[in-house]
Symmetry: C2
Subunit: 145 residues, 2 copies
DNA sequence: AATATTTAAGAGTATTTTGTCTTTTATAAA
DNA sequence: TTTATAAAAGACAAAATACTCTTAAATATT
């Protein structure tokens, strides 16, 4: 098992790369990013397309085209990114996978799991992409294997 | 995305079912369980086989055969079960999927994620299957859709 | 206008996970 | 000892996820 999908990992890595190179300011070339991060170009393109469709990134085609932030990384929360990459119901899912699990018809782990899940949710909601990106830049942390 | 795999969900549901019907005491028939929980019989069999191989369950073949707990549910932690069902490294994985991520060569999210991960880990380590099973029995909570 | 560049989109392939079916092995009961 | 029952094991099929390749559309430069 993995906590997030491969696409999610790739997406987060690309976003962190962008956020930690914001002096670059404008648009990032996807081909270059794919090489720097060692992620398949076409696959990364698709993942970033989704983020563009969800209004997190904007893109331009043609020479010097690329992808850039639509909102400032200060205003982008980790929670928002995980939902965009892993599905809107990420923080609502039943641990046992039971559909319709909730207050009205809880599974045996509902209350327990909801506590844990909500902690994670609020943690992710109060962490911005800028926070993580600054960290990356200042400490020269790696985004590749 | 899902937090645990489908096999993991099925395994937990079966174990909760067993733990909450402990008056039954002895062995549980897998066919019956698969019907009560609406899980494919053969698939469930394989999942329980793994739990048997990992020393959490024991099994007997033949008439009145089945699977039962090897240790008492009081002594089985949720942490142990998740590791058995999702892999031993469940609580050690890098959120970005980077191999070898750790103190020596951390990814930008390492410290942050380690905090969250360790919380989850200790939460799961201090929760027994018996706790969850008792809950299920006393409150008549559902394990099926 | 023509060409080159770069993302978008879609079709197709590979791998992993999930699920099914069949055969084997162990055990109990007649 | 034969038969029935139930888990173990393995081969196979289907679905989901991950990845590749080709074509289309947009934009900039000449």
């Amino acid at each position: 098992m993995r906590v997030i999908s491969k696409s999610g990992e790739y997406g987060l890595r690309a976003l962190l790369h962008m956020a930690s190179n914001q002096e670059n300011e404008g648009f990032f070339n996807i081909r270059e990013m794919s090489e720097e991060l060692d992620i398949s170009f076409h696959f990364l393109t698709k993942i970033l397309q989704v983020l563009t469709q969800k209004g997190i990134l904007q893109s331009y085609r043609g020479p010097n085209g690329g992808v850039g932030f639509l909102k400032s990384p200060e205003e982008i929360t980790l929670s928002e990114l995980v939902r965009a990459l892993e599905g809107d119901d990420f923080f609502d899912k039943c641990l046992l996978g039971l559909p319709g699990c909730g207050e009205r018809q809880p599974c045996p782990m509902h209350a327990y799991w909801m506590g844990i899940r909500n902690n994670l949710k609020s943690e992710f909601e109060t962490t911005s992409l800028a926070d993580l990106g600054k960290n990356t830049r200042l400490q020269h942390l790696r985004l590749i294997a």
